[in-house]
Structure formats: structure tokens, C-alpha cells
């Protein structure tokens, strides 16, 4: 892998995460990394490799399987002056740490008036064949909590830039990485000052006829569907919110007001999800501009299965997105 002239490299998603951690730990000795197998083994999926070798066992710690206390390690350490990054391997395991994340970390500033520079990394999505207790997508839970910032990088560039911003942020930030994308590539600035700002959506493709808001694995699929739609004369705008709390409402409202049509694509199920929030937002804010009913294109409201073909049967594919786009534009 070589750096191109302009300091941009094609990185895999996990490399984006890894580079962000190396750069931020190098830049600020208050940054520490804590989690199951993150140290010696470099993470169960290799995401944190070489960090312990580089920064030593004082700053990179393998924990026991104690999710609640792992989150608490981050809170307490942040309260006494560190900027910890804690890893809760899978989103599903965050369920063992909800009190610490929601009742404690999210309220620290409210109770104390102080900052709590805590980053929590986890992974979600049904990209691996890990079944119903490892692949759930309930990012909306955390986005409903005042005091938490929640980001969902959908590619290597954002995985790097958002994580770096999270680490530099003075408030608790949850970084929900996408398991199914760990080896997916995107051109990424190597620069250690490259950041992706929190709270700002990215328009991945501009278009006039319909706005597609997509997250995680669904972003690339939406881009592919948009490409195919273009061939059929339909101009699709694809927006990746990147940060889901606080959501970049302005960007979404601006786009939907312009296109008059909305499709939200995600691998969470529809009920009580980000897709519900985005559709509600469009209905409230773009009521007079909407030319068709907004569409939620989501995973079926069922548990995540293990075989790959069942997983795919459950979530939207490129064809489904194309069909929805076509339907909503009436072409």
C-alpha cells in the first residue's frame, strides 16, 4: 500500500480505525485503550493490532469480560483526567453496560458541569454470520439519550475521521462500527490532522429526484442503486448522516425539500428506528415539499439469522433500493 502524492491512501475500514487510534495515542498521552483482547492479541478481529506494542501495557489494557465495568473504567478514568477509548466488542454486549453508558456517562456533564472525554467503540450490523445475539442494530436507542453523541462510520475514511473527532471531543461519544465492512476500502487521508466533524452528514452523491438516506452497509448499496437509477434517468441524492445523534437535520431537510422524495435505507428494522426519525422529520419539516410518501426500506422485523442467504433475505439489497427509488419517483 503506497501513499499517493496528495497524502491519500486506500485503507480498509479496520485500518482506518487502527490509524486513528495510533495517531491519537501518539498525539495525546491521556488517550488510553481498554477492552477485551484489545491488547496482546490486537483485538479479536485485529482492529487494534500493534497498539500495545507501541504504547505499552499501561495505556493499552486487556480486560476481563465485564462490560459494565469496562464502560465504567472509561467514565472514572475520564473523570480523573484521561481521554479513554473503551471497546465493547459487539453492540449486543453494550446491553450489559447500558446503566454505565446511559445513566452515568451521558449524565456526567449534567450532574457535574464537567466534560467527560470518553469514547466507546462497538460494532454492529449483520455483516458477519454471528447470529441473533451478535448482529443487532439498535443504534436508535443511544440516539434517544440526551448527552450522548453517536456516530456510525460507513467506510474507512469516516471510520478514521469520526473516531479521531470522538477522541478529541469533550463529551461521551459512541462509535458504532460496522462489522460487515471491516475489510471494505475507501481512500483516506493519512494526515494526522484529518478529522471528520461530528454532527455533519455527507452527501455521497448529489441528485434531484429523490433523497436516499442510508447508514452502515446500506450506503455502498445505495450508491450502487443510484448509479443504476441514473442509467434509467432517475437522479438520486445519497446522504450518509454519519453522526446519528445529533442528527444533521439541516442537511436532510434541505435535500428532501429539494427532491420532494425520501427513501431511508438501513439494516436496523423499521419500527422505532433512525428511519422512523428521518421520516418523521421529513413529514414535519418538508410537509409542503413532499411529493410522495416517504419510504422506510429496512431489515424485516425479525431476529438476525446465521446463514448468509437468510441474512441477505432480511436486509435491503441493491435491487430493493432501486425498486424503492423507482416506485417513489413514479417511473
Amino acid at each position: 500500500m503506497t501513499t499517493t502524492v496528495d497524502g491519500v491512501r486506500s485503507l480498509k475500514y479496520w485500518q482506518g480505525v487502527n490509524q486513528a487510534l495510533h495517531q491519537e495515542m501518539d498525539r495525546d498521552e491521556r488517550v488510553v485503550l481498554v477492552g477485551e483482547d484489545v491488547g496482546g492479541p490486537g483485538g479479536p478481529y485485529g482492529v487494534t493490532r500493534n497498539l500495545r506494542a507501541t504504547f505499552g501495557p499501561n495505556r493499552v489494557r486487556d480486560t476481563p469480560i465485564s462490560e459494565s465495568t469496562i464502560a465504567g473504567l472509561g467514565i472514572g478514568a475520564a473523570a480523573v483526567g484521561l481521554r479513554p477509548v473503551v471497546e465493547l466488542m459487539f453492540f449486543d454486549f453494550c446491553m450489559l453496560a447500558m446503566d454505565q453508558i446511559v445513566n452515568q456517562a451521558a449524565k456526567y456533564r449534567y450532574f457535574t458541569g464537567r466534560s467527560l472525554p470518553l469514547t466507546i467503540r462497538t460494532m454492529s450490523g449483520s455483516g458477519g454470520s454471528y447470529g441473533a445475539q451478535h448482529c443487532q442494530s439498535f443504534e436508535a436507542w443511544f440516539a434517544a439519550v440526551p448527552g450522548l453523541t453517536v456516530v456510525m462510520p460507513s467506510n474507512a475514511r469516516d471510520a478514521k475521521g469520526l473516531l479521531k473527532s470522538a477522541i478529541r471531543s469533550d463529551d461521551p461519544t459512541l462509535v458504532i462500527e460496522t462489522f460487515g465492512l471491516l475489510t471494505a476500502r475507501r481512500d483516506t487521508p493519512v494526515d494526522e490532522d484529518f478529522l471528520v466533524p461530528l454532527g455533519v452528514a455527507e452527501t455521497r452523491r448529489s441528485g434531484d429526484d429523490v433523497t436516499v438516506v442510508a447508514t452502515g452497509r446500506m450506503v455502498d448499496r445505495s450508491l450502487e442503486a443510484a448509479e443504476r437509477a441514473a442509467a434509467g434517468g432517475v437522479s438520486v441524492e445519497v446522504i450518509d448522516p454519519r453522526t446519528i445523534a445529533p442528527l444533521d437535520r439541516t442537511a436532510i431537510v434541505e435535500s428532501v425539500s429539494r427532491t420532494g422524495r425520501l427513501v431511508v435505507v438501513q439494516e436496523a428494522s423499521a419500527p422505532f428506528s433512525l428511519a422512523a426519525e428521518v421520516c418523521a422529520l421529513a413529514a414535519e419539516e418538508c410537509f409542503d415539499r413532499l411529493r410522495a410518501a416517504p419510504v422506510r426500506l429496512c431489515a424485516d422485523f425479525v431476529n438476525v439469522p446465521t446463514p448468509q442467504d437468510l441474512i441477505e433475505a432480511r436486509v435491503p439489497g441493491v435491487d430493493d433500493i432501486l425498486a424503492a427509488v423507482t416506485r417513489v419517483t413514479g417511473r
Binding site: 488510553v32 481498554v34 499501561n58 495505556r59 489494557r61 480486560t63 476481563p64 465485564s66 459494565s68 465495568t69 469496562i70 464502560a71 465504567g72 473504567l73 472509561g74 467514565i75 472514572g76 478514568a77 475520564a78 473523570a79 480523573v80 483526567g81 484521561l82 479513554p84 446503566d99 454505565q100 445513566n103 452515568q104 449524565k107 449534567y110 450532574f111 457535574t112 458541569g113 464537567r114
Partner: protein, 309 residues
């Protein structure tokens, strides 16, 4: 004989204990006048735990407290005026009067917060100890919790990690014999102090009516922690003379047992160690302090509805 290095001079000791006691009694009066928003959990009878433990601490050491934590806050050095104002829902309170008793924090004096979640402070204190260790500071973290909290998952998790990493932490279990409306026998199998052994670090039990015993045990534990030798679990046997909350008739309590604790009340014993004049001077000082705190609080505007957060 108490080790003089390990507890403040008798008058100071009495002053601290009395402050905890009278602060809560005064707040309880205000509560009955309808001036305290939210439930109020008092630690009457438990003052020696807070004062004894904090006698072993510095300002830069940190503590986590509980839903029943006024005495911890005061003993760690929280500001009486700001606490009183917070409890009375005033804008001059620690968080502008918005949060009240279960959410008081003052990181400047090492008070990371009282907590509405039983056991919620265990991971946080463990994390603070971890942070202190990473920074190479010789400060320690102290985690206060009730015997009811030993049933929470956080308890075992925190003890295990503290032991594995030899963290500079002292776990102080304030065993006041009740968790809400049920006795500790509903909550604790075996003995709390013995739980430490299974994790390979020392557990001790002390008499919570003896502030010197509490201070001694904590000094040893803190010295161990500062030296890098890891955690200690101190179980303080005490008694909640108040109900679970102000207004709780506490019908589940055995009156004779309560009386036995009242008879060896640490506040009264600390007072008895002084001459009548000395004691009266402290009494006056504390009454004055609290009366002023109440006056100042009541003179301040109530929490600002425009400043939710």
C-alpha cells in the same frame, strides 16, 4: 487509644461528625416543610463511616457515593452552602438546584458524585483508580456503597478488575443492615468482607460506631493502595437510624436494636471526649453554619426552568 495521627483532633472530629448529623436533621426539617424536591435518604447513625474514611484521604483522592451520601460529600469537603442550596432546589446549588440529593458532585474536592443507581459507582470508582494508576499519581479512589449493592453485578466485576490490576482503590461497604425496606439477610449471602478473599485481596470488618476504628482500617487500606499493593475491602458495620427515606415509618425495624445503636452513637461519643465548653462551642458553630446555609439557600432563587439540561 486512637492513633493521634490518624484522626483529627477531638474537637475537629466532633465538628465533622456533628456537621453530618445536623446537616441531615436540618434538611429533614426543610423537607417536612415541603421545601426539598425529591426523596431524601438520610444516613443518621452512619456519620462515623464517612468521617472515619475521609480522615485517611487527601483532597486529590476521589470518592464515589450513593443515594444516601450527604455524609460522604460533607466529609470529603463539599461546600455546605452549595449542598444545602442544591437540596433546597436553589440556583446556587451544586447543579443549580436541578438535581438534588441523589446527584451531587464536586470534582474539585474529589467527589465524583452521589448516585441514584445502587452499585452504579462501583465501575466508576474502579475507573478512577485505573486513571490514577495510569497517570502514576499516588492518589487513591474510595468507593462507598451499601451492603445491598454487594448483590449487584457491578460488585463482583469491580472487585475482580481491581484485584487483577492492583488498582489503588478502597471498597467501603457501609453495612447499615437494611436495603430499602428489607434486612440485609434478604440481600447478602455469607459475609461481605469475605468476598475480598476470593479475589486475593484483604477484606476487613470494623465497628462503624467507632470512628477511630474506621479511620485506622482505612488508613491501612489507603497506605496499601498508595504503595501500589492494590485494593482492600472495608466493611463498616453500622446502622441506619433513619428510615429508608424521610417519611418511612420503618415498621420493619426492631426498636431494641435501634436503641442499642443509639446508645453507642459515634456523634455523642465524640462529644463526650470534649469538655462541656468545647462541645458547646462546636455545637454553636455548626448551628450557625447550617442556619446560615439555610438562610442563604432560601434567599436564592429556585432552580431555573429555562435552564434544563
Amino acid at each position: 487509644m486512637p492513633d493521634d495521627d490518624r484522626t483529627p483532633p477531638p474537637a475537629d472530629l466532633y465538628r465533622q461528625l456533628l456537621l453530618c448529623r445536623r446537616f441531615e436533621e436540618v434538611v429533614a426539617e426543610q423537607y417536612r416543610e415541603g421545601r426539598v424536591p425529591g426523596p431524601l435518604h438520610l444516613a443518621l447513625g452512619q456519620e462515623a463511616t464517612a468521617v472515619g474514611v475521609c480522615a485517611a484521604l487527601r483532597r486529590t483522592d476521589v470518592i464515589t457515593s450513593t443515594h444516601r451520601g450527604h455524609h460522604h460529600c460533607l466529609a470529603k469537603g463539599a461546600d455546605v452552602d452549595r449542598m444545602m442550596a442544591e437540596l433546597l432546589g436553589r440556583r446556587t446549588g451544586y447543579s443549580g438546584g436541578r438535581n438534588g440529593s441523589m446527584h451531587i458532585a464536586d470534582p474539585d474536592v474529589g467527589l465524583l458524585g452521589t448516585n441514584g443507581i445502587v452499585g452504579g459507582g462501583l465501575p466508576i470508582a474502579t475507573g478512577a483508580a485505573f486513571g490514577l494508576q495510569v497517570q502514576g499519581r499516588d492518589d487513591v479512589a474510595v468507593c462507598f456503597f451499601g451492603e445491598g449493592a454487594t448483590a449487584t453485578g457491578n460488585f463482583g466485576e469491580a472487585l475482580n478488575i481491581a484485584a487483577l490490576w492492583a488498582l489503588p482503590i478502597v471498597f467501603v461497604c457501609e453495612n447499615n443492615r437494611f436495603a430499602e425496606l428489607t434486612p440485609s439477610s434478604t440481600h447478602v449471602a455469607g459475609e461481605v468482607w469475605q468476598r475480598a478473599e476470593a479475589y486475593g485481596f484483604p477484606g476487613v470488618r470494623v465497628d462503624g460506631s467507632d470512628v477511630h476504628a474506621v479511620a485506622d482500617a482505612t488508613h491501612d487500606a489507603v497506605a496499601r493502595a498508595r504503595a501500589g499493593d492494590g485494593p482492600t475491602l472495608v466493611e463498616v458495620m453500622t446502622y441506619r437510624l433513619s428510615g429508608h427515606y424521610v417519611g418511612d415509618p420503618a415498621t420493619y425495624r426492631d426498636e431494641a436494636e435501634a436503641q442499642a445503636w443509639r446508645d453507642r452513637d459515634a456523634v455523642a461519643r465524640a462529644r463526650a471526649a470534649l469538655t462541656g465548653t468545647e462541645a458547646a462551642a462546636v455545637d454553636d458553630e455548626i448551628e450557625e453554619l447550617l442556619a446560615t446555609a439555610v438562610d442563604r439557600a432560601l434567599a436564592a432563587p429556585t432552580a431555573d426552568p429555562e435552564e434544563l439540561g
